[in-house]
């Protein structure tokens, strides 16, 4: 249901404009109308856009800086908002908030100084440790490889060594280095190399110590990575250095844990304050940024906007209570002003139907003054979904999975809604599964011995093969019957769309629109009656005559309502009813695949124990695949039937959603 809105204009003395904005902000019900365009189109130049006091404009930049700082701190400390009490956040928010921006800025700066004082050194120490750990972890394998060689070199008094790390793909450079260093050292050198991992090779150049300087100079211009240990390790024998590196690698995580514990204490101390600071800055900036949307004259300010009709009284009382007759609220007659099309839309549905507002992720809200189709979607979507999937086993899985998702993601609205829709869809899947008597395909038929040697349904629990109504209702054998059922469902579904279209037309006193929709409704009714003649032997000839009359009459009505386009639309639109054949077609594809999975599993199971295991694996894999397809495809097609076939007949999108100017509690 679309909530009834009222348009209001608030006028007041200019010197209390900011206080008035704060009261409106606190109430959080007004959807602000940007008056810029209206001011531009006015002949008088006395009304201008409201401007912020210059001293407040300066604070905007400061607040933006503070917002960035608070954001950085929140990212560093990573407080978990879900563990915080909303009450505590609200108290801290009140403590930080002030109508005076200067006071609020100074409170925020004080808080940030405190947090910085208590966290900066710890955060820097953690960052240094992480860098050190990453560097040592790089050294460790290289040093491990060169250690045995370096130890041998260390025992030779005259020899020096340099360790290098080279990308494996450039390993050939070692030959070049060997040649050049041999020249420098008159052949008193040796290069030993070993691959460290898939990407790098460690090399140890051993040469006479007399040439240490020249070799270093040569390597410096060759752009190769020398393994340089931290200065405190560089002068130590390699075995000691390796042991120390390993000890540090083992030690650093404990130090990081200790720092994390310290940080966690600081986090718990400041997290509520930081979240409150973030919210307060966000709200203050939002209030400041709203100012240019208002208008002013020399003496008064003008605020225009929309709010739910029920919220007018509380706002009027709040303004009167705070400012007496210095601020006046006037309700504008929107029909008189022809502003209805501009009205922002807010939906007020029942708790059950609200979950199905997920539909509006794919579509805009319905236009103000038209019918909200959420309830149609909430009723038909799960039914169409269940009709297509129709399997007790699949239904149980979908329902349980949907419920788990719904409960687990209570704080994530989109996933939470999707989970609920899945749960209801799963319930209808079980319902239709009982009608088709399907449990992971044809297992129940097999257990009850209803199938003949060719695997076709031969026996029925109620009725016989030749009965019109029989149980179970097998979708493969009863394809034509189910096709007819689907077309009738399509007629009802499209019919509801067309009736809503007629109601919308009547509300807007657009009777041609009513005739156009009525014409199409007659045409689809006529088409269905004509088709019935060919499908049902007992269908009387007079009913066929009425069907023809509806068909022709509908085209004429469509033409009267919307001209030649209306007549063509009536004929083409009638074709939409065949789109509902997908309800049986998709379901049939699903059940055939389930039956094939069962058949393959049973065939495998005939080959002993291994065959049984293979059969179970085949069954699980194919049925799992079928469930995934069985959830995805029917969801898309049920959505499409709503958005194209049914809602396409009446739905007019809203220009704007109702987004009240309120203290949002943050920028999450």
């Amino acid at each position: 249901m679309i909530e009834k809105m009222a348009k209001v204009e608030i006028l007041g003395l200019k010197d209390i404009a900011l206080e008035t904005i704060d009261v409106i902000h606190e109430l959080g019900t007004l959807h602000i109308e940007d008056l810029t365009e209206r001011i531009g189109s006015m002949e008088t130049k006395r009304v201008t856009r409201m401007e912020m006091d210059p001293k407040y404009a300066d604070h905007e930049a400061t607040l933006n800086n503070l917002r960035a700082k608070v954001g950085d701190m929140i990212r560093e400390l990573q407080p978990d908002p879900e563990t915080m009490s909303k009450e505590e956040i609200a108290n801290e928010y009140k403590a930080l908030w002030s109508d005076n921006v200067e006071v609020m800025v100074s409170r925020l700066e004080k808080l940030l100084r405190e947090v910085e004082r208590d966290t900066r050194d710890t955060v820097e120490r953690k960052s240094d440790l992480m860098v050190e750990l990453s560097r040592l972890e790089k050294y460790a394998p290289i040093m491990g490889k060169v250690q045995p060689l370096a130890e041998r070199v260390a025992r030779m008094q005259d020899m020096a060594s340099i360790a290098l790390i080279i990308e494996r793909k450039y390993k050939a450079i070692l030959n070049y280095l060997n040649e050049e260093i041999s020249k420098i050292t008159n052949g008193e050198c040796e290069i030993i190399s070993q691959d460290v991992d898939d990407e790098s090779t460690a090399a140890l150049i051993v040469f006479n110590r007399r040439f240490l300087k020249q070799v270093h100079e040569f390597l410096a211009v060759q752009d190769v990575n020398q393994v340089r240990l931290p200065s405190d390790l560089a002068k130590k024998p390699i075995d000691e250095a390796v042991a120390e590196v390993r000890a540090r690698i083992a030690q650093i995580p404990a130090e990081v844990d200790e720092i994390d514990r310290t940080l966690s204490t600081v986090t718990s101390q400041y997290s509520v304050k930081l979240i409150a600071a973030r919210n307060a800055i966000h709200d203050r900036l939002e209030a400041m940024q709203a100012v240019p949307k208002f208008a002013q004259t020399d003496q008064v300010f003008i605020i225009s906007g929309w709010l739910p009709a029920d919220a007018v009284d509380p706002m009027e009382k709040a303004l009167e209570g705070n400012f007496g007759n210095k601020v006046i609220l006037t309700v504008v007659d929107i029909r008189e002003e022809h502003d209805e099309e501009e009205a922002p839309v807010s939906l007020a549905n029942s708790p059950f139907t609200r979950y199905f507002e997920i539909l509006y992720l794919l579509s805009k809200y319905p236009r103000y003054g038209t019918v909200d189709p959420t309830i149609v979607f909430a009723f038909f979507f799960p039914i169409l979904f269940g009709l297509m999937v129709g399997d007790i086993g699949y239904g149980i899985i979908i329902m349980v999975a949907g419920w788990i998702v719904h409960r687990k993601y209570a704080s994530k609205p989109l996933v939470n809604m999707a989970g609920f829709v899945m749960t209801v869809g799963g319930a209808w899947t079980i319902f239709f599964g009982i009608i088709y008597l399907e449990f992971f395909g044809d297992w129940i038929y097999r257990w009850l011995g209803l199938l003949n040697a060719d695997g076709e349904l031969d026996k029925y629990l109620l009725g016989t093969k030749n009965s019109t109504f029989k149980y179970p209702l097998d979708r493969i054998e009863g394809f034509t019957f189910m096709l007819a059922v689907c077309l009738i469902i399509g007629w009802i579904h499209m019919g509801i769309g067309l009736i809503i279209g007629m109601v919308n037309g009547r509300r807007e006193k657009n009777y041609k629109h009513v005739m156009e929709k009525g014409g199409l409704f007659l045409v689809i009714t006529g088409v269905l009656m004509i088709i019935a003649k060919f499908g049902l032997g007992w269908w009387p000839a007079w009913a066929l005559g009425i069907g023809l009359l509806f068909f022709v009459g509908g085209i004429v009505l469509g033409a009267v309502g919307a001209g030649m386009g209306g007549a063509i639309e009536s004929i083409v639109g009638a074709g939409n009813i065949f789109s509902y054949a997908r309800l049986i077609a998709i379901g049939l594809a699903s059940v055939i695949m389930a039956n094939v999975a069962n058949e393959l599993a049973i065939e495998q199971a005939k080959n002993g124990v291994i065959g049984i295991i293979v059969g179970i694996v085949v069954f699980i894999l194919l049925q799992a695949l079928n469930i995934v397809i069985g959830v995805f495809s029917p969801s898309i097609h049920a959505l499409r039937l709503h958005l194209v076939e049914s809602f396409g007949k009446f739905f007019e999108p809203a220009k704007v959603r109702y987004e009240p100017f309120k203290k949002t509690g943050g920028e999450e």
Partner: protein, 79 residues
């Protein structure tokens, strides 16, 4: 023999019904899919509409499947 030919023709008819409509759907979906991939790259919020638009040509193959199924039902009338 004649019965066999008739059943064969029914099978060919059903195969054409679903095969041709599947090719048509594939062609349409490839173009819509490519266009929507470009659109989503620019405006990721269009992903919901994209899924619906890509699903629209599936009507062809679905109706093809229905027709094919109805054709195969003629098998029982062959004498």
């Amino acid at each position: 023999m004649v019965v066999g030919v008739k059943v064969g023709l029914i099978a060919i008819g059903a195969a054409l019904a679903i095969g041709l409509s599947a090719i048509a759907t594939g062609l349409a979906q490839s173009r819509i899919g490519a266009a929507m991939a470009g659109a989503i790259a620019e405006r990721p919020e269009l992903v919901g509409s994209a899924i619906i638009l890509v699903a629209i040509p599936e009507t062809m193959v679905i109706l093809g499947f229905v027709v094919a199924f109805l054709i195969t039902a003629l098998k029982s009338t062959v004498k």
